[in-house]
Symmetry: C2
Amino acid sequence: MTQPIDIAVIGATGTVGETLVQILEERDFPVGTLYLLASNESAGSAVSFRGKNLRTREVDEFDFTKVRLAFFAAGPAVTLSFAPRAQAAGCTVIDLSGALPAEQAPAVVPEANPQVLDTLKAPATLHSPSAAAVALAVVLAPLKHLVDLQRVTVTACLAVSAQGREAVSELARQTAELLNARPLEPRFFDRQIAFNLLAQVGPSDEQGHGVLERRLVRELRELLDLPLLKISVTCVQVPVFFGDSYTVSLNASEAVDLAAVNQALDTAPGVELVQDEGDFPTPVGDAVGQDVVYVGRVRGGIDEPQQLDLWLTTDNVRKGAALNAVQLAELLIKDLV
Amino acid sequence: MTQPIDIAVIGATGTVGETLVQILEERDFPVGTLYLLASNESAGSAVSFRGKNLRTREVDEFDFTKVRLAFFAAGPAVTLSFAPRAQAAGCTVIDLSGALPAEQAPAVVPEANPQVLDTLKAPATLHSPSAAAVALAVVLAPLKHLVDLQRVTVTACLAVSAQGREAVSELARQTAELLNARPLEPRFFDRQIAFNLLAQVGPSDEQGHGVLERRLVRELRELLDLPLLKISVTCVQVPVFFGDSYTVSLNASEAVDLAAVNQALDTAPGVELVQDEGDFPTPVGDAVGQDVVYVGRVRGGIDEPQQLDLWLTTDNVRKGAALNAVQLAELLIKDLV
Ligand SMILES: NC(=O)c1ccc[n+]([C@@H]2O[C@H](COP(=O)([O-])OP(=O)(O)OC[C@H]3O[C@@H](n4cnc5c(N)ncnc54)[C@H](OP(=O)(O)O)[C@@H]3O)[C@@H](O)[C@H]2O)c1
Ligand SMILES: NC(=O)c1ccc[n+]([C@@H]2O[C@H](COP(=O)([O-])OP(=O)(O)OC[C@H]3O[C@@H](n4cnc5c(N)ncnc54)[C@H](OP(=O)(O)O)[C@@H]3O)[C@@H](O)[C@H]2O)c1
């Protein structure tokens, strides 16, 4: 039996952090003492773990020498401030914010590039990438040797939970206001998100690319080890609470063998393929609460055999974030104890 | 002044038909007697036109020799049953259902291929194509000579109104049920559409392509007069009442001149370009109720100068259907009277 490990979860009161604690329990991760950290605003609030209520503490005052593993799920600024402290204390760090450069914290998705773990010295610092990169890597990794990928075109339809707790409350509040014919007052989003689509998620750069879009391109190239892969991506904010969905259009250099693609996806780890004619997976009803990336609508091009189109949907908070981070910890565990 | 023309609107009680009647009034179309036709279920109900209430009649019993122009906005089966009668009576027919083959009823979008009208003999039969084809043709036509298009990849995020009245009521009903924590009973859609995405709209064929997706490919090739254009499209049903949105990814054979693209779109008829940094158009707030296709997020590829990405949003019922049909009638009018 593995020795229990003392662990800190930073951002434990957030969308991802809460789920991460839940997944540690569900998967029977060998947790010793669990320290739940957040900002001073929510310090003292209770989070349940293995039937007990644990109190959250302020990250500012935490002594990282108490733990051997730290999950950072509280945004880039918090990672930049406190990950160096954790590293200096000899902790293994798994960052979910994307704040650290790839040279310091390689992005890893166990289904795509687990080999990267073998190159690391303990205590390691890893990056659990964006939910979009996790979903795409899980699905494209098993196709990489089957299809000579020339380019990937993605429309990422992101749930409001991808932006955290406040975005979830805002969709609920706006929807209720509209159904009750009350005047709409946008707060978290700068305009109506209920019954609407926003063509951009977060800030964009001078060329018009969103920060999230650039991040996905960078992370996916890294995860697939295809540094020159052409990727075009648009992130759209949709009025869905949980579950990201993706249309994925792949161009290959040669005709795609659809039977082989279906077979590869059917047996790929972390993938659930929906093949029944006319059926397709949806975020609500299929993906949410599940630990896999659902794939459906697998089809060739119209008059174009080098073309392959897919639909993906996954629980952005679980598979896209918290679960991937815990899976990484499970792989690292051997060297930790 | 143009002589008034007697007109029939078939499907006058529907989403598109009602808007069509409204647009005939708004644009001061030279309407003589207006006959509003529907099924026997709604025959006798009132629709307002120029301050009067007109009664709808049953299409079965209508004598098409009474009119010179007939708009078919009641679904493919109705067009197939009654368009031949209208044609035999010497009517000009504008079909919005897509039921007639291209050889009998060419698809026309005034901003894209008005030259087709010159090749027709009166009385003509025209096809006002799907809302997706209208939106894409309006935007791609002015780019066609500027960008040597190799392929077009589209994710079409369709509003529920694209499926008619019943779909609109269903989204409202489901949303209210969920907010009131009542059990959900899907009716029009076979599952939850509120706060969810459906990866397919309508039936699909054996290769997995949706009927609407095939239709868009066929219509867009016809409208742009690019019969071999590679087009990949996924139609997604989104929980939005009105306003279709599209992510459009274009591959050209050469580097795209972004300044020239922006200039062409800025001056193109039927297009409203949103260029302010960080801003983008949305269905609710921008497109709905308007007579243009909004374009935003115009940007080149990441590390790929031959790439161009766009976001489009438009009122599917107005610009995508009723308005395009009335615009066609305006162009035909000279030969009619
Ligand atoms: N949501 C997703 O689908 C998803 C997917 C992949 C990655 N991520 C990444 O995961 C991170 C967390 O996202 P989330 O969606 O869970 O956000 P969230 O719901 O807004 O939660 C934010 C968490 O960070 C904590 N926090 C905020 N400021 C802090 C500070 N100054 N010091 C300490 N703790 C602080 C909050 O604690 P308080 O309660 O004290 O405010 C809360 O626990 C982000 O970097 C996000 O990009 C999210
Ligand atoms: N909605 C869009 O965005 C859009 C865009 C482009 C094209 N279109 C096309 O336009 C057509 C109408 O769509 P819609 O959205 O307006 O549908 P809708 O809201 O469901 O309305 C259907 C209309 O057709 C009439 N109708 C149905 N069955 C009939 C029958 N057997 N005989 C006579 N009339 C009949 C209905 O009359 P009752 O009141 O008597 O039932 C109603 O007026 C469809 O072909 C659609 O594909 C729609």
